[in-house]
């Protein structure tokens, strides 16, 4: 793992035991690298396994198979105690700002927890000063430190979550749906804040979200996930213009555009049916049961991520052609 | 579904085994020699030797326990230190009295708590709601034996409507049984009613605030239909388990009420066994009650699974 790769997953599988049936294959063979300074976007719908992938990277969930490497170490089999040493390097920001803060603790106490756990400052004064710095860094008045989470707005709580994540001076921050439960106007504030912090502190982000527009806006590279697998990866603007995998095309086509004229006249690719059960995914390509241009061969082979052009890859036997075919035929 | 039952059966079996261990160990806690303590003034060597060997108290602890469990499985719970009669028959004789008292009490409780609890929730904040809350608050706090004494004073003493105590078997003379069971059953029933009222009220309140009830209102269904079809059905599923648990706990015979009303149930038997230091009978009574409790709980879980389609239909 070269120096500038902060975290890496190698053919990761995370299966959860399910009562009375085969295990749920939340993540079923995912490999990815997060390089220093970049924002890797992980986009997909519910059931795609994107959050589980993030949790596996932080070893908050035990992998069933495959390797997890963080900050140059293969931490796949490490015990919780041993993991604590590496925890400081990788921080996490959660979707629900209120749930991620202990209601009994003041804002200052929550932000200070990494400082105390890793003994980064000694003495209460130094800690108080550092907390004030962190709150200011995320655009909050230091006197908010004495408040409790329920006295703050959603946006303010998420800023506290970010301040806490930065307290341990991490290299990599995993953002799990950081703006999903915020109001529209507040979402923009938090996205701007995250970008500014990345520029100022040289942070690396894994940005997990179902919001395609936000992922495109935030990410240098993006990976689209479906039913526990990465189906397409590459430069977001390029992929959003020329998706190679039929699922990505359908996903992009499903996002409504905030322009009435365009929204009324654009041709949509409407997928039929529901996402299959992750307990026994379809044979061969797992998207074939919903893919408008699926062929017989799709049922036999389980396509790997093949290069389409440069850094742009897709896991489809007919990458590119399938999408062109879908767009040619009138919408379903 | 069956996997669920199997797991619960296994669990209950393990707990029952644990119960037999606790009941067996009770005897070991007796300071000194249980038989000598039990015989006390009535001590004579022959009975002492006979009882000791019958109970096999000289053998090592483990063998004693294993034989106790082995015998228990075949229905043999040893013999009474006092009368020498088999414990099993003594205890089973008293079961009908406790059963009839417990069932009557729970019936009274449900007849009071169901309407009161539901109405208090549906008319949340009304005078009835406050009354229900005061009633359940008071009911839970009243010592049942005090209520019994006051009941005897009023209905037997002052009004003379009911006998102060005593028991008549239902099978012998139903009218006589009824007049005797009313006061003790009401005493227990009021306490149980207040527990149930509180639970039913909060269960109904919780369902009333569920989204699907708002959906039903949106559909313009009549108030009664919304409550009957969309509230009660959901709210009463958990209530069934609470009622069953209350019934199961009353199977132990509410000792104080049975003592107060001279009701020859298992509770009274336990009290007499304690007075007479008749430990095998005490063990037998406690074991039977705990076993009944476990069986009731098992039935309740299975019933709950049948009632709630989310569990019944996988």
């Amino acid at each position: 793992m070269s120096a500038d790769v902060l975290a890496e997953l190698d053919d990761l599988r995370v299966w959860f035991p399910a009562a009375g049936s085969a295990p749920v294959r939340a993540v079923d063979g995912v490999s990815l690298q997060v390089r220093r300074g970049e924002t890797l976007g992980l986009v997909g719908e519910s059931g795609s396994g994107k959050s589980t992938t993030g949790l596996a990277l932080l070893r908050l969930v035990d992998p069933t198979s495959g390797r997890v490497r963080v900050a140059g170490e293969d931490v796949t089999g490490w015990s919780r105690r041993r993991l604590r040493t590496v925890r400081r390097r990788v921080a996490m920001v959660f979707q629900d700002p209120q749930a991620s803060l202990d209601p009994r603790h003041t804002v200052a106490a929550s932000v200070a927890e990494p400082l105390v756990v890793h003994r980064l400052v000694d003495g209460a004064d130094a800690r108080r000063r550092r907390v004030a710095e962190l709150l200011d860094l995320v655009g909050l008045r230091p006197e908010l430190g004495e408040r409790h989470p329920h006295e703050l707005s959603g946006g303010q709580r998420q800023r506290v979550g970010i301040a806490r994540a930065l307290a341990g001076e991490p290299d990599l921050v995993v953002l799990d749906e950081p703006i999903a439960s915020l109001d529209l106007s507040v979402q923009a504030q938090i996205m701007n804040l995250l970008r500014r912090l990345q520029r100022e502190l040289g942070l690396t982000y894994l940005f997990i979200s179902h919001d395609l527009a936000a992922v495109e806006h935030m990410s240098d590279r993006v990976a689209v996930m479906y039913l526990g697998r990465i189906v397409e990866t590459g430069d977001p603007t390029q992929i959003y213009r020329e998706p190679a995998h039929p699922y990505t095309a359908a996903l992009l086509s499903a996002v409504p555009v905030a322009d009435p004229a365009e929204e009324r006249h654009r041709r949509r690719i409407i997928l039929t049916g529901d996402i299959p059960s992750p307990v026994d995914p379809p044979s061969g390509c797992r998207f074939r049961t919903r893919c408008p241009s699926a062929r017989d061969t799709c049922a036999q082979t389980d396509p790997a991520l093949e290069v389409v052009a440069g850094d742009h890859r897709a896991a489809c036997l007919y990458a590119g052609d399938a999408v062109r075919e879908m767009r040619a035929t009138p919408s379903a | 579904m069956s996997r669920f039952i199997l797991r619960r059966l296994l669990q209950s079996a393990v707990v029952l085994l644990g119960v037999t261990l606790v009941v067996f160990l009770l005897l070991q806690l007796v300071p000194g020699d249980p038989v000598r303590v039990a015989l006390g003034t009535r001590f004579d060597p022959q009975t002492y030797e006979a009882l000791r060997s019958r109970a096999g108290l000289d053998r090592p602890l483990l063998t004693q326990y294993l034989s106790y469990v082995g015998n228990a499985l075949t229905g043999d719970l040893g013999v009474s230190f006092r009368s020498g009669q088999p414990v099993t028959t003594i205890v089973l004789e008293r079961l009908p009295a406790t059963l009839s008292l417990a069932l009557t009490a729970v019936l009274i409780a449900v007849l009071i708590a169901l309407p009161l609890g539901v109405l208090a929730a549906v008319r949340n904040g009304s005078a009835l709601d406050h009354a229900a809350r005061v009633f359940s608050q008071f009911g839970v706090s009243v010592p049942d034996f005090w209520m019994g004494i006051m009941g005897i004073l009023l209905f037997a003493g002052v009004l003379g409507w009911l006998p102060p105590s005593g028991y008549v078997a239902l099978t012998d003379d139903p009218a006589g049984w009824l007049s005797h069971v009313l006061l003790p059953a009401a005493t227990i029933g009021l306490v149980t009613a207040s527990i149930l009222t509180r639970f039913i009220r909060s269960s109904v309140l919780e369902v009333l605030s569920a989204d699907h009830v708002r959906t039903a209102e949106a559909k313009g269904l009549r108030g009664r239909v919304v409550v009957l079809r969309h509230v009660l059905r959901n709210a009463l599923i958990p209530v069934v388990t609470v009622v069953a648990v209350q019934l199961a706990s009353l199977l132990g015979g509410v000792i104080v009420v049975e003592v107060l009303f001279a009701w020859p149930g298992i509770g009274r038997l336990t009290y007499d066994a304690v007075q007479a230091r008749d430990y095998p009978v005490l063990q037998g009574a406690v074991l039977l009650v705990a076993a009944l409790f476990l069986v009731m709980n098992l039935l309740v879980d299975i019933l709950y699974a049948r009632l709630d389609p989310r569990i019944r239909v996988r």
Binding site: G155, A188, Q189, P256, A258, P260 | T215, A216, P309
Partner: protein
């Protein structure tokens, strides 16, 4: 030209009693929707968009004080006795709520729930109701409806459950369908299916639709007219094309600009500072004043701006409507 509106709300005000004092969730709102047309109510949390619809149809919480006039198919609901209002609502208005996993009764079969309104209001027998249920489930695209009509909600996926809720809302062939964030809890591909489904049904049945959402993309796709709500009031109201092309109110403009657009990755987003107001302490003047980039003069803070015309049927509630040119989109 406009047909008799299916539902018309005039000067609707809703005040809720909460532990921390009275909260004015809706402060004088007017809107209406004609047959076959779709009105979108858009706004952030606490804007009063859902409460205005619930209050209009008599579903506001008991502690709420509702004033103003609400005409459903010509009858003023606020003047009717509760029973009559209940019947009118049940018969002529269908509801689709946000969370499909809690909108259905978990212990009742899907078929029973879909047509119980029809039994109540159209007098269908149990037999007829069951057939109607299968018909409705097929109409909303649920495979093998005849078998699934006797299944329970937990046996359906999120998307399928929402289709059941839609079938339920259409059971009495209502004149109006109220959809309160019907696709917010769904994935974007499922959302596309549901939007497609509702559009198709509306066309076929001529139903008027009030669609509540906070997603501007959805508004652009479904709405004929749009009302932007903020702090319990409508701050902009007009045909969807005009409002999107030339937003008159600073808040609408800011909302449209705040969404990330493909290909604009380099620039930061023009975010609106602060957060939406709480109905407990609504400012006296314009509710958006504390966050408004324009803030023309003192009147904004103390005086409630009236609704002023900026185009045909296009009104904004601000002292500083932007000129109806489109240059700052």
């Amino acid at each position: 030209m406009t047909a008799e509106p299916v539902l018309a709300v005039e000067d609707l005000t809703v005040t809720l009693g909460t532990r921390r004092g009275p909260a004015r969730a809706v402060a004088g709102v007017d809107w209406s929707v004609a047959p076959g047309r779709t009105l979108a109510l858009v706004g952030e949390s606490g804007s009063g968009k859902t409460m205005s619809v619930l209050a209009a149809t008599g579903l506001a919480p008991r502690t709420a004080r509702v004033t103003g006039r609400v005409r459903l198919l010509g009858e003023d609901l606020t003047a009717l006795p509760p029973q009559r209002r209940r019947v009118l609502r049940g018969r002529h208005v269908g509801f689709v709520f946000q969370d499909p996993s809690t909108s259905l009764n978990p212990v009742l079969t899907v078929g029973r729930q879909v047509t119980e309104a029809a039994e109540e209001h159209l007098g269908l027998t149990r037999r007829q109701a069951r057939d109607r249920a299968v018909e409705l489930l097929e109409l909303v695209g649920i495979p093998s409806a005849a078998r699934r009509v006797d299944e329970y909600p937990h046996q359906f996926s999120g998307g399928m459950r929402q289709r059941v809720v839609i079938a339920m809302a259409l059971a009495c062939d209502p004149a109006l369908l109220i959809a309160d964030e019907p696709t917010t809890a769904l994935d974007v591909t499922t959302q596309a299916q549901i939007v497609e489904l509702v559009a198709g049904l509306q066309e076929r049945m001529g139903t008027a639709v009030v669609w509540i959402t906070h997603d501007l993309g959805v508004v652009a796709g479904v709405a004929d007219t749009v009302a932007v709500m903020y702090g319990g009031r409508i701050v902009e109201h007009g045909p969807v094309d005009d409002v999107f092309a030339a937003p008159g109110h600073p808040y609408t403009r800011a909302l449209l600009a705040a969404r990330p657009r493909p290909g604009h990755r380099d620039a930061d987003l023009p975010a609106i500072q602060g957060s939406p107001p709480s109905p407990l302490d609504l400012p006296a003047g314009c509710a958006f004043w504390p966050r408004c980039p324009v803030r023309g003069d003192a009147r904004c803070e103390h005086e409630l701006p009236p609704l002023t015309e900026v185009g045909p049927a296009h009104r904004v509630r601000t002292f500083y409507p932007s000129p109806p040119t489109g240059e700052d989109r």
